[in-house]
Every structure is written in structure tokens, then in C-alpha cells.
């Protein structure tokens, strides 16, 4: 019965994803075309031969009515044959580089994903740990310090913290590279998953693993610390609230060790809202990665979008937004399912 409830819940959530994405895509499609400037005139610096420009417009399908362009684009997206052949949906061709947008995006996505995963790990460990410590030492100096840390890290701009880290660990101490996905004098591992840390391990090269980890440390630490502020505050508040619950008092009355009460009872119950926040933050993290990627010259999806906007590369931007949207939707879906699984009341 519970399983049936969960299944229909998942099915509903998946079905809701389709209109959400369609809405997002339509908004981007319209906004891009409302902006002044067009990709064809940007392609021609000196010579603006009308015939050549018209030929290019025709090649790119820009001479068709807007509704036709929209339908063509949606038609491409749902082209299952293309998806099966290439491993990614037909997102059209870039209007500046004339390469497949799907290929471009999926070449950049692993970098963003790797950064997001490691940053999230750092944010969760740091945030939850400090949140628990702060709640245990309520109103003490340590609590104030941790709360201060949470506020500062929440407020500090990512590029500022990034540059500070680059200066300290890269320039002054020389311990870590200031940017890029691997030290400049080390050959990147052969692409299997696109995640350097994984690929170097699959290649059996510990040296490259260490080098890619070194390169990953500063950007993920920067983004992780920034995100941890939110987790610190959330964990602390929820823990304090749960500490006041009757079942905690009962557990203590039964003579359970304080550590068991804290981790086994309080943290477990306080974890549900933290889990929701993890999902939301993971989505936010992709957006936040734009600045981190620029600061650390990280060749991911964030830099791709910024770069393509300046070229009015309609298809590239639409494609990137679709992928971002899809990713955020999947993460939200997973979190919702986990939530529903952990808390049966959700499914009722």
C-alpha cells in the first residue's frame, strides 16, 4: 500500500516535470529573441554582405517565423532517434561555433558536476558538524563563534573568498594551483566519465588523482564554505527545537547516553528539513558555480552560459537552460522521493 502510494507520487512528480521544463524553455526562447542583437550580425565584423548574412540566417533557420522555430526546437528535443544515437538530446547547433550544442554542454557538464559534488560534500560535513556542535554548546562562546561563521560565510561573495584562497594557498604558500582542473604541467586523464578524480583512478594513476584533487580543493572549498553557512544555521535551529521535544526528554530519562540521544534521536529527526535544503542548495550550487568557475578558470557549464550570452547564441543558451532545468528537476525529484520515503506523512 505504502509502495503504491510512493509509486503514484513519483509518477505525478515526473509528469509535473514536463510542463515545468516546457515553461522554462518557452520563457528563455522568448527572452533571447526579445534581446537586441542577433547572432548573424555578430558573426560578421567588417563585411556585412546581405547575401551572405541571409544565407547564414537560412542555414540557422532564423528566417522562419518564430512559432516555426519554436516547434522545430521542441521537435528536436523529443527526437528519440537522435538521443539514442548520440547519447544526448538534439539541442540544435551553436549559432556561433556551429558545433552540436548537446555535445558542447555534455563536454562541460562533468566539470560542473564534479565541482558541485565535492562542494556539497564539504558544505554538508562542515555545516552539519558545526550545527550540531553549536546546538550542543547553546549560548556559549563556541555557539556564538559558529553562528558568526555561519552568518559571515552566508554573506561573503564567492569570488572574494575564492581570490583570498588563491592568494594564500596559490600565490603566497604555493601549495595549490590557482585555477584550472589539473596542474598546468600535468596531462589530464583520458576522458571516461569526465570527472578527473574518477577518471584518474580508473586510469590507475594516483599522481593524476592527487593533482586533480589539488586543483579541485580550492574551488570546492570556496563553494563548500559559502554553502555551509546555511547548513550551520539550519542544523543548529532544528537540533535546538528537537532537543526540546518530549521524546528526547524520555530518551534521556531512560538513561541513554547523551551521544546516542544527540546523534540517534535528535539529529535523525532534525535531518528532514536539512535534506530538503540539500536538494535546493545543490540546485543553487549549479547557479553559484558560474562565479566559482570564472574565479578558478574552471571550464564548466557556468562559464559556457556567460560566454554564449554575449554572442546571442540562442540555441546554446536554450540548451544550457534546459539541461540546468532538467538537472534541478531531477535533484528536486530525488529529494522529494527520499523525503516521502523517510516521512510517510508526505505520501498521504
Amino acid at each position: 500500500m505504502i509502495l503504491m502510494g510512493l509509486r503514484s507520487y513519483i509518477a505525478t512528480r515526473i509528469l509535473l516535470t514536463i510542463p515545468t521544463l516546457l515553461l522554462l524553455l518557452s520563457a528563455v526562447f522568448i527572452i533571447m529573441r526579445v534581446l537586441p542583437g542577433d547572432p548573424v550580425s555578430l558573426h560578421f565584423e567588417k563585411k556585412a554582405d546581405p547575401e551572405l548574412m541571409d544565407a547564414m540566417r537560412h542555414t540557422l533557420g532564423l528566417d522562419k517565423p518564430l512559432w516555426q522555430q519554436y516547434i522545430d526546437y521542441i521537435g528536436g528535443l523529443i527526437d528519440v532517434g537522435y538521443l539514442l544515437k548520440n547519447g544526448y538530446p538534439n539541442l540544435g547547433k551553436s549559432m556561433q561555433t556551429f558545433e552540436e550544442v548537446g555535445g558542447q554542454i555534455f563536454s562541460a557538464f562533468p566539470a560542473t558536476l564534479e565541482l558541485a559534488i565535492y562542494s556539497m560534500i564539504i558544505a554538508c560535513i562542515l555545516g552539519i558538524l558545526l550545527g550540531v556542535v553549536a546546538s550542543k554548546s547553546y549560548n556559549s562562546i563556541l555557539d556564538h563563534l559558529i553562528r558568526g561563521f555561519g552568518t559571515i560565510t552566508y554573506a561573503i561573495p564567492v569570488f572574494f573568498l575564492g581570490i583570498i584562497f588563491q592568494l594564500i594557498f596559490g600565490v603566497y604558500l604555493g601549495w595549490l594551483p590557482t585555477g584550472l582542473r589539473i596542474s598546468p604541467n600535468v596531462e589530464p586523464p583520458a576522458t571516461i566519465t569526465g570527472l578527473y578524480t574518477i577518471d584518474s583512478l580508473l586510469e590507475g594513476n594516483l599522481f593524476k588523482f592527487a593533482e586533480s584533487l589539488k586543483a579541485l580543493l580550492l574551488p570546492s572549498l570556496t563553494l563548500g564554505i559559502i554553502l555551509s553557512g546555511m547548513f550551520v544555521r539550519l542544523t543548529r535551529t532544528n537540533m535546538l527545537e528537537t532537543f526540546r521535544s518530549d521524546f528526547v526528554t524520555a530518551a534521556r530519562a531512560r538513561g541513554l547516553k547523551e551521544r546516542t540521544v544527540t546523534l540517534g534521536y535528535v539529529l535523525r529527526n532534525a535531518f528532514l528539513p536539512i535534506l530538503t535544503m540539500m536538494g535546493l542548495q545543490f540546485a543553487m550550487l549549479l547557479g553559484g558555480a558560474i562565479l566559482t568557475e570564472t574565479t578558478f578558470s574552471w571550464p564548466g557549464l557556468g562559464r559556457y552560459i556567460v560566454n554564449r550570452i554575449s554572442f546571442r547564441d540562442y540555441t546554446a543558451i536554450q540548451g544550457a537552460v534546459v539541461v540546468f532545468g532538467l538537472f534541478v528537476t531531477i535533484v528536486s525529484l530525488v529529494v522529494d522521493i527520499l523525503y516521502a520515503y523517510l516521512d510517510p506523512r508526505i505520501r498521504l
Partner: protein, 558 residues
């Protein structure tokens, strides 16, 4: 059994157990030690390998990226041309360190001569040169390369960005012999060697560069650039992520033939790509890269100059910026208004304040050092408010009835420090007391659209030359694509006369006359010319930052 015996047997058994254990652990320890030693040895080998590769490679950090392709028929961006220069060769080239950009030296051509009307150019080619696949270079390769460049441009469905207009200059190319080639030009064209020395004239092997298609980018099955060229390096790796370069590796061309121009001193050039000037500055400051070239900001380069850990190389710049006026309507359809505005500008203030002295005021559209450069616009002066007020008074403008217009600048980083420049120009103009400026900005895409739609009153624009010759600057005064709606047949005639003579004194005179008219008309007003710089580790040598703006990596050593 006696108790003593039992004790002895027990002790023996215990000894055996201890000995076995010891032997076992010793063996295990030995195997672990051996494995550890192997690890240490492999790590040492890896480190030695890394050190060896570091000694023979130059790591270059840049914020550039190849825009689209490394096919000379379509590439039209600085970095694309830079890579092409390392892997390709042209018939002639400019001597490194040239001050004027007109010291041509033989490259694939041994010698050349031209007809008195400058319409027929003959080149005798070097012999014994091979492409990397063993194909012998000859005159047909030259003909095919130029035929292809001319034929391909209109056929490229996406539209070719190259603006060199080869088709308008070259009528046809003829093979006169295995090592002799002739160019018939449509009109007399004295800067022809300049055109031949630029990257668009890189010779390709038609086997890998078919006449009907462009070799696009890395990863594309049609991209076969590594074997199509004759340069000092071979492109051995070109990785792009999401349409931007992430890794480029050049390896020495073992068959490089041009010993006279310098055999490559460094085996591998590794390009690493940073997102912006701040990241690049940190990378060179931390020693992550051996060299940072394009673009370290003026503030950063002045700061780095104080550091003992790096060396800053200075050179001549060729990038210029200028002010355009929309002349199809009032107020700038009157040359007096344009002259009045030009006289009120303050170039020095912009160069000193915005570019920290790393740019110089420009008083001719042709930059200093180049044939035909004059200081013509000094006649109008800087902040010459007397002239501004006099001219505007003639037209009825005064402190109570100010000349009002919009000054546009590009805001997305296509040009350096545009907002700061525009603000200082506004201040200087308004200090005249009779001008009121409204600053307006647009990102590059919108800016170009606005230019084409001719909606901007006055707008700041920039120019980077295709070939180093006044011929590639002087036409800016009336360039149709700037949409200023200015035309002047006298200037065009003078320009064409300068094209038709190799007499440098006469050319200088003709360009000076063009400038004289430009000062009176002020269709376009020169603002400043940039400097060039590169930052390296102190151990890097052999950098030439001359007027060509070429970076010749094969001459660099460390």
C-alpha cells in the same frame, strides 16, 4: 615427562611460533617494503619525467581562445592566427623586431619581383620542403591555398568572417613552374607582401584542406590541421570544452626547414586557458605558468613589474580606438560640430587615468612607427575649448543652449575599460561649458546592431589590423561598415594612389594628405593606441613584441 622437559618443549614451540611469525611478518614487511620502494621508484620516475618535460616545455597562460577554426580560409581572430603562425608558414614574413612592419624576409618564397604597375607578382619558392606527411611542397600548393581562400568564402554556408577580401585584390594565381608562382592582381597593390605575410595567407596542403570545405575545430572529423601545415610546430593536441579551448599542445616539427628564421628552442608549447585577467595574473604570480600573454590588465602588469619573480616585456601596440559620428542627421551632419567635439576631447587624461600610461594618445588613424603616421590631429589640440566654443557659437550653441548628444560605448568587455574611457570623455567635453553628453552603453551584440541601425549619435570603436600597413588603417575614415555615412572621393583617390606605388616617400605624403582632410572633416577621430606586454618567469628569453603583434613562440627559450 618431567616438568623441565615440558617447559623446554613449550619454550621451543613458543620459539617456533614466534620465529614463524617473525619470518612471516618479515617476509610481509619485505614485500611491503619492496612494493613501497617500487612505488617510490615509480613516483621518482614520474617526477623525473615531469621535471624533464618541464625543462623542455613552455607553459603559456592566456585568456584567449580560438574563436571558431584553425582553417586559414576562415579563421579571423587573434588567437586562431597566433596558433596558425606557430604551425603554419607563409610565402614571406616580417622580420622579428621590425619597427615598421615592412621588413619582409623570405619564408616559403626564396625571392620575388613585381611588375612596374604592381599588378603582377612573381615568387620563386624554396625547394626541399616537406609537409609532415612527406608531401613535397611546390607551387601548386600556393595556388591551391589562395584559390581555396577565394572560392571558399562565399560558399561557407554559415558565412565567412574573414574580411580580407582576397577576391577583390587577387585576380588569379598561376603556376609558372614547380617552384614558381605568379599572382595577377585586380589593381595595383603595394601592400601585397603585407597580405601575404598575414595568417590568412598560410599555405595548406589541399589533401587535408579540400577546396569545398572548412576544417572546423578539434574533434570534428573534418579537422585535419595537424598535418596540413609547414610551421615550426605541429598541433598535437587541441581540446575544447563547450566551444572554448581548454588545452592546446604544440610539439616541435621534426622536419622544420627554416633554420634561418630560428629552429624552435623549446620542444613543447602548452597553452592553458584562464577565464579572466585576474585569474591569469594569479597564475603567473604563483608560478603556475611560465608566461602570461593576453590579457594581463594594466594595473596588474604594473604591479607585477615590481616583483622579482617575474619579468615584464614591453612592446609596440597596434590596437587603436577612435570616435565615430553619425553623419546622416543633425548635429553631426555638420563638420564644424564634429571638429568642435574632437577639439574638446582629452586623450592624455584617458591614457594616464584609465590605462595608467600604458596607452598613448593617437593623433592620426595610422599608429606611430608605421609608414604614414602623422600628428595631424594635434592641430585641434586636446581640451581646446576656445576652438570648441568658437565653432559651436557659429552654429548658435552656447552655455544656455548646449550641444546635446548621446555618446555610446560598448559595455560587455569587447573593448578595454570602455565605461571609464567614456566617463572621462564626457567630463572633458562638458568642461567646455557648451556641450552636454548623455552616456549610453550596450553589450557588444546590441552595440553592433545599433551601429548597423545607425541610431547612435557618437560611438567609440576599435580596430586591430589584419596586416601591418597603413593601407589597413587609413580606410577607417570612410569605412562603410562603420555606418558613419561619410564618404570622400578625394581621400579614396589618395588612398588608391598610395596603393599603386612602392615609393615610401610618396606613400607617406599621400597618407599625410588623407590625414589633413580627416582633421577638417573629423568623420572619425583617433583616440589612443595601445601598448603590448607579456609577463614571464625571469628565466624565459627571446620575446619579440613588435608592431606585427605576432608572438613567435619558436624563438622563445628558457
Amino acid at each position: 615427562m618431567a616438568k623441565t622437559e615440558l617447559i623446554i618443549i613449550g619454550l621451543v614451540l613458543i620459539s617456533i611460533i614466534i620465529a614463524s611469525g617473525t619470518i612471516y611478518y618479515a617476509a610481509d614487511l619485505s614485500s611491503k617494503m619492496s612494493s613501497l620502494m617500487q612505488d617510490v621508484s615509480s613516483l621518482t620516475d614520474a617526477l623525473e619525467g615531469r621535471l624533464a618535460s618541464m625543462e623542455t616545455s613552455l607553459i603559456v597562460g592566456t585568456t584567449d581562445s580560438v574563436e571558431l577554426t584553425l582553417d586559414p580560409a576562415q579563421a579571423y581572430d587573434y588567437f586562431g592566427w597566433c596558433i596558425l603562425q606557430q604551425i603554419g608558414a607563409t610565402l614571406v614574413s616580417v622580420k622579428p623586431g621590425s619597427e615598421t612592419g615592412t621588413d619582409f624576409v623570405p619564408e616559403l618564397a626564396e625571392s620575388w619581383n613585381y611588375s612596374s604597375d604592381l599588378k603582377i607578382w612573381d615568387f620563386t619558392l624554396r625547394q626541399g620542403i616537406e609537409f609532415p606527411d612527406g608531401t613535397t611542397f611546390n607551387a601548386t600548393h600556393v595556388k591551391d591555398s589562395f584559390d581555396r581562400a577565394i572560392a571558399l568564402i562565399p560558399r561557407i554556408p554559415e558565412g565567412a568572417p574573414a574580411g580580407l577580401e582576397y577576391g577583390a585584390i587577387i585576380n588569379r594565381t598561376t603556376v609558372l613552374g614547380t617552384y614558381k608562382v605568379r599572382f595577377y592582381l585586380n589593381h595595383p597593390f603595394s601592400p601585397f607582401l603585407g597580405i601575404l605575410a598575414c595568417r590568412a595567407s598560410t599555405i595548406v596542403d589541399p589533401k587535408y584542406a579540400p577546396i569545398a570545405q572548412v576544417n572546423y575545430t578539434a574533434g570534428d572529423p573534418r579537422a585535419s590541421t595537424p598535418v596540413a601545415f609547414l610551421g615550426p610546430y605541429i598541433l598535437s593536441k587541441w581540446d575544447r570544452v563547450a566551444g572554448r579551448d581548454v588545452d592546446i599542445r604544440l610539439d616541435i616539427n621534426p622536419n622544420y626547414w627554416n633554420i634561418a628564421s630560428g629552429y624552435p628552442r623549446i620542444k613543447h608549447i602548452l597553452f592553458k586557458f584562464y577565464s579572466d585577467a585576474a585569474s591569469l595574473r594569479l597564475a603567473i604570480g604563483a608560478g603556475d605558468v611560465d608566461m602570461a600573454f593576453r590579457h594581463v590588465s594594466p594595473t596588474d602588469v604594473l604591479d607585477l613589474q615590481k616583483s622579482p619573480n617575474v619579468k615584464v616585456w614591453w612592446g609596440t601596440g597596434a590596437f587603436i580606438q577612435y570616435l565615430c559620428f553619425q553623419e546622416k542627421r543633425a548635429p553631426f551632419n555638420d563638420s564644424r560640430v564634429r571638429v568642435a567635439v574632437a577639439a574638446a576631447l582629452n586623450r592624455s587624461s584617458v591614457c594616464e587615468t584609465v590605462f595608467l600610461g600604458l596607452s598613448s594618445p593617437l593623433y592620426s588613424i595610422i599608429p606611430p612607427g608605421m609608414l604614414g603616421h602623422t600628428e595631424a590631429f594635434t592641430k585641434l589640440g586636446d581640451s581646446n575649448y576656445t576652438l570648441t566654443r568658437t565653432l559651436l557659437a557659429e552654429l548658435g550653441y552656447s552655455e544656455s543652449n548646449k550641444l546635446k548628444f548621446e555618446l555610446w560605448y560598448e559595455s560587455s568587455g569587447h573593448y578595454p575599460m570602455s565605461a571609464d574611457q567614456a566617463l572621462l570623455y564626457k567630463q572633458a567635453l562638458e568642461a567646455s561649458g557648451v556641450i552636454q553628453v548623455t552616456l549610453k552603453s550596450a553589450d557588444w551584440a546590441s552595440y553592433k546592431k545599433n551601429r548597423d541601425n545607425e541610431i547612435m549619435d557618437a560611438y567609440i570603436y576599435g580596430w586591430y589590423p589584419d596586416y601591418v600597413d597603413p593601407d589597413d588603417y587609413a580606410f577607417l575614415y570612410w569605412a562603410a561598415w562603420l555606418h558613419t555615412n561619410y564618404s570622400n572621393s578625394t581621400q579614396v583617390n589618395l588612398y588608391n594612389q598610395a596603393r599603386a606605388t612602392t615609393n615610401t616617400t610618396l606613400r607617406e605624403k599621400l597618407y599625410a594628405q588623407i590625414d589633413e582632410i580627416a582633421v577638417k572633416q573629423c568623420s572619425v577621430v583617433p583616440l589612443y593606441v595601445s601598448s603590448a606586454w607579456a609577463v614571464t618567469k625571469p628565466t624565459v628569453y627571446g620575446i619579440y613584441l613588435d608592431i606585427t603583434q605576432d608572438m613567435r613562440y619558436w624563438l622563445i627559450s628558457k
